[in-house]
């Protein structure tokens, strides 16, 4: 097992710079991602840098107040609170003396400011601690000079520096001197036992603004003279604009103009390096420019447009057929292969094979996609909610043929991300609009625009096959058929990889014109349900105890030297055992049925037990017990919030989330036809953390994937029937009683 000093390499010299402030005080800059990611290169010659070249800072004022600039985009995952907590811990300050501000993107100098993959805390852990500790040591050194004593005789704690004689100085008293000192090497980090801030409950730093309705989000961003834009995009995937009639739209009160965009995006489409964005469609789009949002949206409704079929218009039954063909076919890429699964199947006493299916899903961030742009010959000013501000800036520069150094990006708080705001299609749109009209403008999507012209979780089918011989699992094969791309990274090496002698993961892909992309916990958000459902079936088939089967298989992984296997069998066993204990597994009261899941993804180990009852013929998830091993818990209240949210989100989408296409047109466009989980359906979530001193890992995603599987396994216990398809509530075989749930 790794210790708190993990394997991530960094060079302290590459990230720490200090500067005296004109107003008095010390500014310490550090480049988090240069510091933490082995593949990241310093943005420019380090010797030439000054403080503004770094993407996160500590600013210590003469009065002792400390401002920490949070470098990463905040999408609700809590890094704006938790990352500064780590700095403050090592700096040794009372948390109430710390102010947190959102850092902005500076494309001239910064590198890598991204929210995604639950990696902010994991990658930031070492650099954030080093930064705080180094700043503290510089303050101590300055105090030592002042008192004329050795620094080793001085202690700093809670913002106060004390010498052997008992004299004290505040951090602010020595900050000017500290700014002039050399940056010290090899500073000592705290023992986790001495933590005063890490592991406590610290309320979201934006709480006061949120509860009083202050401007925070992209939709709230506004400048004088700003106009509003609404974009009419093709109603079906596969269509392109032929012509439009704007006469009725121009009659709408408040509409200023109607323009067409898309040419610049089309010219960029051939450039391979930006094709990952997927959202640069080749079609023209019609844009209504108006004095206010309502006029822009009403103007768009009044537009008349003619569209042509540029590529085939696909329907859900077509996707279904394609995915089945892929699973039945032979065109697979093999992502992991151990032993010989075919041989294992041929020699098996029993072979179990099951197929699990999931639909497309829209992200449905509560804040619809929107972005601000103001473009002049001198500057491109962008502002709004984006998980990948640097990519957006680079693509806008390419799109408009401008220098990236002309671009300024302000990051606003985001009304949810879930992966949707990794893709900057809306930024490119507003850039093209602003470039044409040369006025400050904000593009706003309606909910219908947001839901029907989105970037979807791809529809996927998994077929899992297992060989059982002499009561042992001897072969395991996972086949994935997916739309627009397959599982990636280390996912093929997740459990039970390493536990079965003959093991293989095969993937096949169908390329569709429906835009797809990352959706909270990509691939595993559905794979966990498929696999963990299969595990239960496997245990039934083997006549084995469901928990013991998992524990026994994990036992076989211990001591593995396979570097691709990054889950820890010990830690997964740890969460399993605690979940059994805390959930009252096996002793549920009559009428309550339990389902069990243990899963590893995003570097965090999780076990969940769902308690389900059947009321009036329909399932009610009463409680989920969730045990998490994410190493050190940085901000306990924030961590529990992420855990609970992930569990409830996972249950909601696996039970209700359905998104179908009819000839390229999404069948649901708003919440009257698309069901998101609401309060009455949300179970109680009991959260437990494994207490250890291991380096922390992220929590934005890992509790979501297991939740659907835990419910599916509980539904089997409750009804005797297994659900093979998400969303569960669509299964007409099981739910004979319907109260007409809205499922899209």
């Amino acid at each position: 097992m790794s210790s708190t000093s993990n394997n991530i390499k960094f060079n302290r010299r590459a990230f720490l710079r200090t500067s005296s402030l004109a107003s008095g005080g010390l500014l310490i800059g550090f480049n988090l991602f240069t510091a933490c990611r082995p593949e990241a290169k310093p943005p420019v010659n380090l010797a030439d840098l000054n403080y503004s070249d770094f993407n996160a800072f500590i600013k210590i004022a003469k009065n002792g107040a400390v401002t920490i600039f949070s470098p990463n985009p905040e999408i609700g995952q809590g890094v704006k609170t938790s990352m500064p907590m780590i700095i403050a811990e090592e700096l040794d300050l009372p948390w109430n003396m710390v102010y947190v501000e959102q850092g902005h993107l500076d494309t001239k100098n910064y590198t890598r400011q991204v929210a995604g993959g639950s990696q902010s805390i994991r990658f930031g852990w070492d650099a954030l601690r080093q930064t705080g500790a180094t700043a503290k040591q510089m303050l101590i050194n300055a105090a030592a000079d002042k008192w004329g004593v050795d620094a080793s005789e001085i202690k700093a704690s809670e913002g106060i520096i004390t010498n052997a004689a008992g004299e004290t100085l505040g951090y602010g008293d020595v900050v000017e001197e500290a700014a002039k000192l050399e940056v010290p090497e090899n500073v000592a980090l705290k023992d986790p036992k001495d933590y005063k801030i890490i592991g406590t409950d610290q309320v979201n730093v934006d709480i006061d603004k949120i509860i009083t309705g202050q401007p925070l989000f992209g939709l709230d961003y506004k400048v004088d003279g700003m106009v509003y834009a609404s974009v009419l995009r093709p109603p079906a995937f596969g269509q392109e604009l032929v012509s439009f009639d704007a006469s009725a739209a121009k009659e709408v009160l408040g509409v200023i103009d109607v323009i067409e965009i898309g040419e610049k995006a089309k010219s960029l489409l051939s450039k391979e390096e930006i094709n990952w964005t997927a959202q640069l469609s080749g079609t023209g789009k019609v844009v209504v420019i108006a004095k206010n949002t309502w006029a822009a949206l009403e103007g768009k409704k009044a537009l008349k447009a003619e569209w042509k079929e540029a590529s085939p218009l696909e329907s859900t039954d077509f996707h279904d057929k394609k995915l089945n063909e892929l699973l039945d076919g032979k065109e697979f890429a093999t992502l992991r292969k151990d032993g010989d699964v075919e041989k294992a199947f041929s020699q098996a006493d029993k072979v179990l094979e099951r197929t699990y299916e999931s639909p497309f899903l829209p992200h449905n961030c509560m804040e619809p996609m929107n972005f601000f742009a103001n473009i002049t010959d001198d500057e491109i000013h962008l502002a709004g909610p984006i998980q990948t501000p640097e990519d957006a800036a680079i693509t806008v520069a390419e799109l408009l043929g401008r220098d990236v150094t002309d671009i300024k990006v302000e990051m606003t708080r985001m009304g949810g991300g879930f992966g949707r705001r990794l893709y900057g299609d809306f930024v490119y749109e507003v850039a093209e609009i602003a470039d044409k009209i040369r006025k400050p403008v904000k593009m706003i999507s309606s909910r219908e625009d947001d839901m029907t012209t989105g970037v979807y979780r791809p529809a996927i089918k998994y077929r899992i096959k297992a060989a059982i011989k002499d009561g042992q699992l001897t072969g395991y094969q996972l086949k994935e058929a997916a739309i627009n791309g397959n599982m990636y990274g280390l996912i093929p090496n997740f459990f039970p990889a390493g536990a079965v002698e003959n093991y293989q993961v095969d993937v096949a892909n169908y390329t569709s014109n429906i835009t797809t992309g990352a959706w909270r916990a990509p691939y595993t958000n559905f794979l966990a349900y498929a696999e963990q459902s299969f595990f239960d079936e496997l245990a039934e088939e083997m006549d084995a105890d469901k928990i013991q089967l998992r524990l026994d298989l994990l036992e076989k992984v211990k001591g593995t030297t396979d570097e691709r296997i990054q889950y820890s069998p010990e830690r997964l066993q740890g969460v399993i055992k605690m979940a059994v204990d805390k959930s009252g597994w096996g002793s549920a009261p009559e009428g309550t049925y339990q389902g069990f899941v243990a899963y590893y993804c995003h570097n965090t180990h999780v076990a969940e037990v769902a308690d389900v009852q059947i009321q009036n013929g329909l399932p009610v998830v009463k409680k989920v017990t969730c045990v998490v091993d994410c190493g050190i818990v940085v901000n306990r209240t924030g961590a529990i919030n992420q855990v609970e949210g992930g569990v409830v989100d996972g249950i909601g989408h696996s039970m209700y989330g359905n998104y179908a296409f009819n000839k390229g047109v999404p069948e649901a466009s708003n919440y009257d036809k698309y069901r998101l989980i609401r309060m009455k359906e949300a179970p109680v979530v009991e959260t437990y953390f494994i207490e250890n001193e291991l380096s922390p890992t992220g929590l934005g995603e890992p509790t979501l994937p297991p939740a659907g599987g835990a419910v599916a396994n509980a539904l089997k216990a409750a009804t005797g029937k297994r659900v093979y398809k998400q969303p569960f509530m669509l299964d007409k075989e099981i739910w004979k009683v319907t109260e007409k749930p809205v499922l899209g």
Partner: protein, 161 residues
């Protein structure tokens, strides 16, 4: 571009948070957009535009209403309260409870949640768990902070006794 010569926006006198504001808006403009775009009160959020998610909830004469589906022409002299007017300084017991429980994740839907909760508690100061769920069921939280919202409503009820 030709300016629209014969059409003028009507003017409305709106009583928002105890102050009367004069605004120009076309008659079918939802109150939501008048608040956000004309009065610069952006605490009230846009979520769905069809009264299904609750992000835009404000009070009209103390009742929780969906401002995205309320044409400005129908408001008249009725008193509107928005999240900005709930208290001077975030000290309404519901706001305090939201802070105490640390409810938000992304925070976008929370103004609507708070406005629904305050109108509900004003009418039902001592609600049961089931009544809280019924009252809050219309407000979507995509981050799924429902357990904390429930706890905060319950905490606020105790504070208000």
């Amino acid at each position: 571009m030709t300016p629209k010569k014969s059409i003028y926006m009507p003017t409305y006198q709106l009583n928002v948070n105890g102050k009367v504001h004069s605004v120009e808006a076309s008659d079918n403009t939802p109150l939501l957009w008048v608040l956000r775009d004309e009065l610069n009160m952006v605490g009230t959020k846009f979520g769905c535009g069809i009264a299904q998610c609750g992000a835009c909830t404000v009070h009209l004469e103390g009742n929780a209403v969906r401002s995205c589906s309320l044409p400005v022409s129908t408001v008249g002299e009725k008193k509107i309260t928005t999240i900005e007017g709930l208290s001077e300084d975030g000290s309404h017991p519901v706001q305090e409870a939201w802070k105490e429980i640390d409810v938000p994740q992304c925070g976008y839907c929370q103004a609507g949640q708070i406005m629904t909760a305050t109108a509900f508690l004003a009418k039902n100061p001592n609600p049961s768990d089931e009544e809280i769920k019924d009252a809050m069921h219309g407000n979507i939280c995509r981050c799924a902070t429902y357990n904390r919202i429930h706890k905060a409503v319950s905490t606020a009820a105790k504070k208000m006794v």
